[in-house]
């Protein structure tokens, strides 16, 4: 038996396979497909203080080995979350993490304090990297001073596991990784989507109502992997790898490059069972390669 357990912040994950926020609904959408509790953890759809309608249709475009989305954080707000979603996700026997988003630092802080009171939520993922909202979002994640300020403020308001989700749309990912660590984040997760665009040449209009949107899927994997590798070398807190992970081979690349856990995103759209198949594949790989503990694989390529 291989030991798959990893620790991130105050949380123990029974295995390193998590789901990426905004691609896994609130978990229950997957109940028909597999037992969600098998995963190391699930990250819920981005939540805001007030309900949001998101951006107008069309919000999606297919791209080579990827997709663009400009959902824009459509969600029913934290009140609805507490009343209707929290009781349901509390039943899962796995770590549930809430992805929080705000226009202002105060909103992030209020959300963090509200989530702090929810016993069955293992942690917060602080999303400072959503490219699809006009205010907040990526503006925080691409400006060092704002990233610092919001992390510090949320840290003060939240005492369980705090993960800061970084934007890849920056010159130096290492700077932002360090800022998160310095301000007390327990972990960083990366990458969120890359800002992209598509044009419909039949209509000669942008494919998305918002013109630009977030690129995800295997297309971004090489960039994500590079950033995870850079970030993992720069900080001591655990790094969670995200970006184009479609199968266990991809997940293993991230772990070998320094990720302590991975999040499966767009892959779940194409194969709703992707996350659990990745979990099985990692276990098989470790066994075949003779690793007894997933920890021995983390950052393997950096060893000599």
């Amino acid at each position: 038996m291989v030991n798959l357990e990893v620790n991130i912040g105050k949380t123990t994950f029974k295995n390193p396979v998590l789901t990426a926020s905004g691609t896994f609904g609130n978990g229950s959408e997957f109940d028909d497909f597999f037992d969600v509790s098998r995963l190391g953890g699930i990250l819920l759809k981005g939540t805001t203080l007030e309900p949001r309608e998101g951006n107008p249709y069309p919000r999606m475009a297919e791209t080579p080995s990827g997709m663009l989305n400009s959902v824009g954080l459509q969600n029913k707000g934290i009140d609805y979350f507490e009343k209707n979603i929290y009781p349901k996700v509390s039943l899962y026997k796995t770590n549930v993490i809430v992805n929080i988003n705000g226009n202002y630092i105060e909103e992030y802080v209020e959300l963090a304090s509200r989530v702090n009171k929810l016993d069955n939520i293992a942690g917060i993922e602080l999303n400072i990297s959503c490219p699809n909202v006009k205010m907040g979002g990526m503006a925080f994640g691409t400006n060092a001073a704002s990233a610092r300020e919001v992390t510090k403020a949320v840290r003060a308001a939240y005492n369980k596991t705090l993960i800061v989700k970084l934007s890849p749309n920056v010159t130096s990912i290492v700077d932002f990784a360090r800022i998160a660590e310095e301000e007390g984040a327990d972990s960083i997760s990366l990458i969120n989507t890359l800002l992209g665009m598509a044009v419909d040449i039949r209509t000669l209009r942008p494919s998305l109502s918002t013109i630009t949107g977030g690129l995800s899927g295997p297309a971004v994997k090489p960039i994500a992997l590079r950033m995870v590798w850079q970030a993992a070398k720069a900080v001591r807190i655990p790094v969670i790898g995200i970006g184009g992970i479609m199968n266990s081979d991809d997940a293993i690349e991230f772990i070998a490059a320094g990720a302590s856990a991975v999040q499966v995103g767009t892959a779940s759209f194409i194969d709703p069972m992707a996350s659990v198949r990745i979990l099985e594949g990692i276990e098989e790989y470790l066994t075949t390669k003779g690793f007894n503990d997933i920890k021995d694989l983390i950052g393997y390529i950096n060893r000599k």
């Binding site: 028909d32 997709m67 959902v71």
Partner: protein, 255 residues
């Protein structure tokens, strides 16, 4: 109606008209209950350019053979690739997905309206209604005689009325101009077809206070309610077409 990811084997691929194919797929295991209006998400494996699955309405179901049919119109890369599939090929399907057309009351006067590829879900709906002993008429609109698909299959189930834009078969004009709509007093309309047709039918239904359900074809990322890409503007705000639809009562839609 438990959703699953499953491999189906292609047992038949019939080209029924230029650009239209009926694929029959069978599963090794029994099918779950599938309701009319539901759809499946099909993976297109052998095309470099398709990344996401493609949604198709369930065109027909045969529980005894564990098989279902899809009616596919070539629209681009994915549908072309699917049209070239051969018996024996495996296709991965996620489904059944979405809601369904409602069952009419016993005393409803029901009309099914379809156009172009929008006839796809209506065959299974018609069979379903028939098996539930509901009566209904069928009205189909096409551009011209050469574009008409499958009306024989429908004739076996009920009265079929046709329009073509050029009058080459049936009445001339759009479905909403068919004389039937002036003669008969329908209390319920189910419609699937091009946007313009659904809007025209919806308008007609509204004006005549007829209960009307349409099946929408929004772009879909996942098909089961997690990506929030397939939204439709409704009186209740943006809702997912893949879970709260694809069938909508037109009263709910903000068109």
């Amino acid at each position: 109606m438990t959703k699953s990811v499953r491999n189906f084997q292609l047992i038949d691929n019939k080209s029924i008209k230029k650009d239209f194919y009926v694929l029959e797929l069978s599963s090794g295991q029994p099918l779950p209950e599938i309701l009319p209006g539901q759809f499946v998400q099909v993976r297109v494996d052998d095309s470099k350019e398709t990344f996401l699955r493609r949604p198709f309405s369930v065109h027909d179901v045969d529980y005894t053979r564990n098989s279902l049919k899809l009616l596919i119109q070539i629209a681009g890369k994915g549908t072309s690739s699917l049209s070239e599939k051969k018996p024996g090929d495996l296709l991965s399907l996620v489904g059944p997905l979405g809601n369904s057309f409602s069952l009419p009351e016993n005393d409803d006067r029901t009309l099914l309206v379809g156009g172009g590829c929008g006839v796809a879900p209506l065959l299974y709906l018609a069979k379903y209604l028939k098996s539930h002993k509901r009566e209904f008429d069928i009205l189909m609109g096409f551009r011209n005689r050469d574009r008409i698909i499958e009306h024989e299959e429908y004739r076996a189930l009920s009265n079929v009325y046709l329009t073509t834009e050029d009058g080459s078969e049936g009445e001339i004009g759009f479905v909403t101009q068919h004389s039937l709509l002036r003669k008969e007093k329908y209390s319920r309309i189910y419609c699937c077809g091009p946007d313009a047709m659904m809007k025209a039918v919806g308008k007609f239904a509204n004006e005549n206070q007829i209960h009307c359900e349409v099946s929408l074809e929004n772009l879909m990322g996942c098909g089961f309610g997690v990506c929030l890409c397939c939204i439709v503007k409704t009186v209740d705000g943006n809702v997912c077409s893949c879970t709260e639809g694809p069938v909508f009562n037109i009263k709910r839609l903000i068109w």
